[in-house]
Amino acid sequence: MRFALLAALALLVGCGRDNDSDIIVLRVANWSGAGDDSEFERTIQDIYEEFERRHPGVDIRVEGIPDGYVSKVILSFVAGTEPDVMLLDASSAAVFIDNGVLADLMPFIENDTAFALGDFFENVVDIARRGNALFAIPNDFTPMVMYYNKRLFDKADVPYPKPGWTFQDFRATARALTIPGEQYGFSFANWMPGWIMWLWNNDGDVIDSSFPRASGILDSAENVSALEFLHDVIKVDKSAPSLGEVASMGVDLFANGQAAMTVSGHWALIGYTNAPKGSDGKPAITWDDLGVIEMPSQTGSSVTVMYESGYAIGKNSKNKELAWEFIKYFTSYEVQSKYNKSGIAVCARKDVAQERASDPLEAMFLPIIPSARPPHGASVEGYEIVEKVGKNALDSILNNDIPVRVALEKAAKRIDQEFAKR
């Protein structure tokens, strides 16, 4: 008993909150997870440490929130314990910007001769712009693209996909590359940010963003046929594993060389450089195996979604100047060229992006970028609801055999109900 008391007291002294006034803690929130000790994570760590070296007495503390990022960061603002710097995801930018919890960065930009907004792609910057105010400096962005494994295409003697391909072309290709029990033509993930482009490319959409409403839009005939198409690719052709099969493997099938095509963003390249080794000891996939192509489309002009992240500062941060230094540092040429070598994304800086375009794989992304549009969440507050309900609807269709129309009608009704409550 006495021992326990002593132990508790010792701990109380030992790990109270940092009161050391010499150290300034700069809290940076992003959606990184526990990590798996990869090259990319070590690069990021070096970048942080270099900043700490240049600013003695500063301690960067990363708040990694891989699950429920939006609601958890909002909750930290409500609690008054928000991070100084947060990575703002275009998919949920509106809820932070429009509720006035972020600082306007224009004053910093105007007073800082060492920073030029012109270095960045203008349409990317505009995602966080409201009138004359700017709430985030873009860090990186990526269009969602179709990746394909050239080695598997060559082995099956199937020609590589070409721009302008349609859903039917895709379906035939996926079927041709499927070897039952061994290899899938396509690998599919159920999260909505990864499949909304299929709807767009069938001339559908999910909400009317000017007045958040899903009924009549999410459950449109175009969307029903687009999702029926995906359903058939997975359940009828069996060209892609069911969601359960994906879970039972516990790896990314594409990275493992077991699926010939997949849809993802630029960040997937990190996993592909880190691919698990096959039985022959060689990596299951290498950069040379990779091809990138626009999404197949039924409309004649392929579109896709552009995900972007930028750095923002909390309005009530006590370390705004330091936070700005950090943002400037992280979005600088020096850091971005190191950071983007990892394959995480396309750099939002023109200079770095152009430099990297000499890489043939990188060059394949460039023609797709002009057709990429920001997600609804950049302008519609509460868009997370749509993404959550949308994912659940697709799960109903794929896992529980609910007819597409029924699932979408239910989802649209649910979304409208949730928007009405706010």
């Binding site: 790990c15 997870g33 990590g35 798996d36 990694g64 930290s76 609690a79 039972s248 516990g250």
Partner: protein, 272 residues
Amino acid sequence: MLRTALSYGLLLGLAGFLMAPFVWMVFVSLHPSRQPIPTLENIIPQDPQWQNYKTVLFDLNLPVDRFFLNSLFVTFSVVILQLLITSMAAYAFARLRFRGKKPLFAVFLGSMMFAGPVTQIPVYLLLRSFAWLDTYYALIVPGISSAFSIFLLRQFFSQIPYDLDEAARIDGASHFNIYSRIIMPLSKPALATAAAFTFFGVWTDFFGPLIYTNSTDMRTLEVGLSIFKNSYGGSNWPLQMTAAVIVLLPLLLAFLFAQRYFVKGILLGGVK
């Protein structure tokens, strides 16, 4: 004879059923990180990857050591403060006569019914108005009293013979003296039981730390572990299971150390 064999058969079967997931977990934790899920034939790792434990403890983005210290500090603080507060209340309920005692006790018992889900919003707002969110106060203060502990300790205190305090009172001892010099020393087993229940309850509490804290440095082991699950999008099971083993192991050791108090405590509190 047959009956004994049958009983052992049932006991072993049940033990197998209850322990199998744990054994499975340890096996998976020793498989190489980032590899596909092993099938049954390959479940026993050929080349055990003990470095998974080093990776989870030291090499990842999460400060597992900090989570552990947080859990330790919060749990010990709650246990000690709760023992103090609830034993005092239990003393009054067991051995003192005062007006309103019965209804008050009933209110305490009734309050066991609606913890968590009902009070989460107002308690959150209350902690916010104290500026306690994301501090140790938010993790400790809501737990420093418990109707369950009061109930448990009262049961025990009322079984201690009254002539002891009669004698002390004749010698002029105050109630505080009787409480601290007679009742408390005689109640060590009951206090240990209450401490054991509180320890496990607080250590494995998930809901409170989940909403009352938000910075990584304030997370407890339980919430920290939940970050692992969401980090790999349904892959990298070896590292997930490693993290789970790391969280479960200290609990298991603590349980083996404290297990006799559980049985005793349930006997005390439950049936009377």
